[in-house]
């Protein structure tokens, strides 16, 4: 966004670290994400993006007469529809193979997906007996310049669109899951956390030919 990183050139040098029989031509995921972000992706102005999103949320709050639960649902639904489509963009850009562990999924989401679409790399951790993935957003371009009015503090998940995007995108690669916000700095919490849980790989729906 406003401060694109320029780490791709540095990190590609360490690409050939692991020693497999087949020559290592994969980049580590971080270098891959950085490279795609820096060299392969057209950018838009971050402030314009933030303000556009802000006006969508404000309009929804108005339309739903400040019923913030319904605003959350609507944002989730909008995100879901975006996720259904943005996954093709993600795959066309990265051509990454399927993730079989929560660990790789967290890594791909954080270092590649969030990186190339929002230029952030959330921290991820696995909790609840290896069942949940928790993404901690250090910064969130959606909520720059935002202050919630006091009546919205309790119920509105301002960036709930992100949960919908994750749900919609994962569903298209045959991963059923639920996604929710655990906390948001806008509400005065100490961090912004998204939780992905009830993950299930829909084996029957994986397209033939993949394995």
């Amino acid at each position: 966004m406003s401060n694109p990183t320029a780490a791709a050139a540095v990190s590609s040098a360490s690409a050939s670290s692991a020693s497999f029989n087949i020559p290592q031509i994969n980049k580590p995921l971080k270098a891959l994400g950085d490279d795609i972000w820096t060299n392969k992706t057209a950018k838009i102005n971050a402030e314009l993006f933030t303000l556009t999103y802000g006006s969508i949320v404000a309009q929804l709050c108005h339309d739903y007469k400040r019923d913030f639960k319904r605003v959350n649902e609507k944002l989730f639904q909008m995100g879901y529809n975006i996720g259904n489509r943005i996954i093709e963009d993600f795959l066309a850009r990265t051509a990454l193979p399927r993730c079989y562990t929560l660990e790789t999924m967290g890594e791909v989401l954080s270092k590649v997906a969030f990186k190339i679409f929002l230029n952030i790399t959330p921290k991820y951790k696995i909790s609840n007996n290896n069942n949940d993935l928790i993404l901690t957003l250090g910064e969130n371009p959606l909520s720059d310049f935002v202050e919630l009015p006091s009546d919205a503090m309790k119920d509105l998940w301002y960036s709930n669109i992100l949960c919908g995007v994750l749900k919609g995108a994962l569903e298209m690669v045959q991963l059923d899951c639920q996604v929710e916000f655990l906390s948001d700095m806008l509400r005065g919490d100490s961090s912004t956390e998204i939780r992905i849980f009830s993950l299930k790989l829909l084996k029957d729906e994986i397209p033939a030919g993949e394995d």
């Binding site: 392969k40 795959l91 051509a95 030919g209 993949e210």
Partner: protein, 200 residues
């Protein structure tokens, strides 16, 4: 030149034909197959692909563990073929000069990649979401000195996928899984196919 690409199809994950374009036909010549025949063909190909993916010999099944690690680099990789439709990214969300510039793993490991006859060759590229991109070309033996035609085809079809992700998926008027009627996509695809410098 680019003339060797005869037609291009996109088949959705349930086997429905959602896009079909022929490139070498005169405006007034009859299409090779009627639109109904095309639909049947797409459905049949989808079925054949699904069944063929289960023909894997036992010896290979035992040797390979299907759950490979994303970092372990066991997935078969498609080399990047430079010079195919370069500088076609203007106007897209991809940054020039090329859509991608590195080798990439193939998602299509046990499905049909290529069907060959004396008169044509057909290539198939399937994405992780189950969309198939099919390309029919002149028989590759006609093309001088072409190494690894499947890799070239995969490179071309991945770029078509890039255009699809940009112009079809991001069109607010497109509903998922439905036939693609999109002028900008048509135009972009045409100029991309025309720009392919290497004979194929």
């Amino acid at each position: 030149m680019a003339g060797s690409i005869e037609s291009l199809m996109i088949i959705n994950k349930s086997g429905g034909l959602i896009y079909h374009k022929e490139f070498n036909n005169d405006a007034n010549s009859k299409p090779r197959l009627s639109s109904n025949e095309m639909l049947v063909f797409a459905g049949t190909l989808h079925g054949a692909y699904t069944i063929a993916s289960r023909l894997k010999p036992k010896a290979i099944q035992l040797k390979n563990d299907s759950s490979y690690n994303i970092n372990a680099n066991t997935a078969p990789r498609v080399p990047y073929v430079p010079g195919l439709g370069v500088n076609q990214c203007s106007g897209t969300t991809f940054k020039a000069p090329d859509f991608f510039s590195e080798s990439f793993p193939s998602w299509n490991k046990t499905g049909i990649k290529q069907i060959e006859t004396d008169d044509f060759t057909m290539y198939c590229y399937q994405t992780l979401t189950g969309v198939k991109f099919i390309m029919v070309t002149l028989p590759h033996s006609w093309v001088n000195g072409l190494q690894q035609p499947i890799s070239v085809a995969d490179n071309i079809l991945r770029k078509v996928y890039c255009l699809y992700s940009d112009y079809v998926m991001k069109s607010p008027f497109y509903s998922l899984e439905m036939p693609i009627k999109n002028d900008i996509f048509d135009k972009k695809l045409k100029s991309f196919i025309a720009s392919l410098q290497r004979d194929f």
